[in-house]
């Protein structure tokens, strides 16, 4: 197990380095960022000053070395546009995104898995077929469209819930979290629902497929032959067996959900990291883009690592060298 972990960690670091390189090189070829900050008719000396100030005139490899150095110190530079340290900027927006993503993900799993198990257990029932129809929609319809429909229905027509922005926050450890206030929850309802749809659909389909397969196995037959109730079989056999693919997908989709937060935050004007990246791409705010991508890569690697570990915990076959 230890060797397994170490190997994974080393891999993770290699990927981080590759990512940072890719990101850095890639970002350097987006147009000329100077033109975003200074009008073309600005005098030359101010132009040169700006270049020197932002270090845009050093050779690429020097810039990269400096970049890595700064990365390790947590210094991502200052945003071209906002003129504040990028790390602060991102950290300020991160809690909003995190709480949105976490609530959406948890909701999707806790609702989706039981629904999917039911659909897989009684695949020909009307309820199951409706669940599957719904899941197809959640799965294929683009997130932005679901967001629009949600706004249309709940905010415009029914006026039950607000259509944008974050609600009031409560401070824990100096960071504001909005899910602890009623107003915050009201504001989070629609975006979280929007974000969770895709994952919900995935979970339903996965749980259903897994359940259908498992119900046909000899394991279930044997359990039935021993007189176990259907409920016990579903809870203690089927659930454990489908947990493996579900956990894998949960991990993968966590990253995906983080990515889709970009869309949801844009539609609902949610002040999170996702909206930040869209804005910074549009205005070519290089430091922010680089920092965002590096942080996202880091998050991904962490998620993958965690999934691997959880995997080994669930499936005892992976824990040690095969017997004899």
């Amino acid at each position: 197990m230890l060797a397994f972990l170490v190997q994974r960690l080393l891999q993770a670091m290699a990927v981080m380095i590759a990512m940072s390189l890719l990101v850095f090189v890639g970002v350097h070829f987006i147009g000329n960022p100077i033109d975003v900050l200074i009008a073309p008719d600005v005098p030359q000396n101010i132009r040169l000053e700006t270049i020197a100030l932002y270090g845009l005139d050093r050779p690429l490899w020097e810039q990269y070395a400096a970049f890595v150095g700064r990365l390790l110190r947590g210094d991502f530079g200052r945003s071209f546009v906002f003129n504040v340290p990028v790390l602060d900027l991102i950290m300020g927006r991160l809690p909003a995104t995190l709480e949105l993503v976490l609530i959406a993900t948890l909701g999707a799993t806790l609702v989706g898995v039981p629904l999917g198990i039911y659909a897989g257990y009684k695949p020909d029932s009307v309820v199951a077929k409706s669940i599957m129809a719904l899941s197809i929609l959640g799965f294929s319809v683009p997130t932005f469209w679901i967001g629009i429909i949600l706004i249309l229905t709940f905010a415009v027509n029914l006026e039950w819930l607000p259509a944008g922005n974050r609600g009031e926050t409560v401070d824990i450890f100096g960071v504001g979290w909005s899910f602890l206030t009623l107003d915050g929850l009201k504001h989070m309802a629609l975006p979280a629902l929007n974000l969770s749809f895709f994952k919900l659909a995935m979970m339903i389909r996965l749980a259903r497929a897994g359940t259908r397969e498992v119900m046909l196995t000899d394991t279930v037959k044997f359990a039935r032959a021993a007189g176990l109730t259907e409920g016990t079989i579903l809870r203690r056999h089927v659930l454990k067996l489908i947990a493996i693919p579900i956990v894998t997908v949960f991990g993968l989709e966590l990253g995906s959900t983080l990515a889709f937060a970009v869309v949801t935050e844009t539609i609902f004007s949610w002040p999170g990291v996702g909206r930040l990246i869209i804005e910074s791409i549009t205005v070519l705010d290089r430091p922010v883009m680089v920092a965002y991508l590096v942080l996202v890569a880091l998050l991904f690697i962490l998620i993958n690592l965690t999934v691997d570990v959880v995997y080994a915990l669930i499936d005892p076959r992976l824990r040690q060298a095969p017997a004899r």
């Binding site: 000899d218 359990a223 039935r224 032959a225 021993a226 176990l228 454990k240 005892p316």
Partner: protein, 324 residues
């Protein structure tokens, strides 16, 4: 206890698939006394496994029992609701399957699986259940039972896994155990061990045993009586020694003749020409007719099972004492 523990009368189980009706089991009747071992012999597709599933009520849709009666300790099983059958399964009748790797859940510990089988029928404390589980394992010859409760199936060898399955089947001291090819997936040496185990356990507890197999040699070592199945019907039954020495149905004789031990060294292995009918086909006349050397016009009508105790389904059975 007087009277047979299991009486099957005119059992017919059909599968209603999209491709047509598959008449897997037709007009199957047999009875089993306490402590008796009945061997059901047949090739794949003969309906022997489906017969076993039918007794336990484990026939999956699109199949179902369409005719006949099954009486377990005097209680009629056909037509009973699933919940009633569930209380009987594992307690008064149980089943052992062919491949313990498939029947034991790989992600649940052995101890847990046995405890679940106990708790399905009795309210006991967890400690008491674990105690019983350990004792059950010891009974089937697994050493260090208490420690091994927390092991997982992949940590056991094939033979040990099957012993676990046998332990589960005998947990509540059922009246009938149906074993569906329990040794087919095991090494030959382990086969002999398991056979001996089963013989001892059955003798000790007075449980009636139905041993389903395609291997006549294995069955003859254990069974008191043998029923030979072909194309969904029983074609011959009788005491083991009677069948082995004086087989009257030509299929049975063919099976016996094709045993490698019967052949002359150096000569070609004797085979029954042709192939058994596939599952879906039903024939108007005797199902074995296309492959039989003694076929004539009479065989265009399905023969009845004739005899008392010693039965044969053939228009031209071999006379007692005769040799081909």
């Amino acid at each position: 206890m007087s009277g047979p523990v299991l009486v099957v009368d005119g059992l017919a189980t059909h599968f209603f698939t999209k491709a047509g009706v598959v008449r897997a089991v037709n007009d199957v009747s047999f009875s089993l006394a306490a402590g008796e071992v009945l061997g059901i012999v047949g090739e794949s597709g003969s309906g022997k496994s489906v017969t076993g599933f039918s007794v336990l009520g484990l026939v999956d849709p699109p199949g179902r029992i369409v005719a006949g009666s099954i009486r377990l300790e005097g209680q009629e099983l056909v037509g009973q609701p699933q919940e009633t059958l569930r209380t009987l399964r594992g307690r008064r009748m149980s089943m052992i399957f062919q491949d313990p790797l498939m029947t034991l859940n790989p992600v649940v510990s052995i101890g847990d699986q046995i405890v679940m089988a106990i708790e399905a029928h009795e309210k006991v404390s967890r400690a008491a259940a674990r105690d019983r589980a350990a004792r059950a394992l010891t009974r089937v010859g697994i050493a260090n039972a208490a420690q091994r409760l927390d092991s997982f199936p992949h940590q056991f060898s094939g033979g040990m896994r099957q012993r676990v399955a046998i332990a589960v089947a005998l947990l509540h001291r059922p009246a009938v155990v149906i074993a569906d090819e329990p040794t087919t997936a095991l090494d030959v040496s382990i086969q002999a061990q398991i056979l001996a185990e089963m013989r001892a356990l059955v003798a000790e507890s007075g449980t009636a045993l139905v041993w389903i197999s395609h291997d006549l040699a294995v069955v003859s070592a254990l069974a008191d009586r043998i029923a030979v199945m072909y194309a969904g019907r029983i074609v011959e039954t009788g005491a083991t020694s009677d069948i082995i020495l004086n087989a009257r149905h030509h299929y049975t004789r063919g099976l016996l003749g094709s045993l490698p031990s019967q052949g002359v060294p150096g000569a070609d292995l004797v085979q029954i020409p042709g192939a058994p009918p596939s599952l879906g086909q039903s024939s108007v006349g005797c199902a074995f007719a296309p492959r039989c050397r003694f076929v004539d016009e009479a065989c265009e009508v399905m023969p009845d099972l004739v005899g008392d105790g010693r039965q044969t389904r053939c228009h031209h059975p071999v006379e007692a004492g005769a040799r081909p």
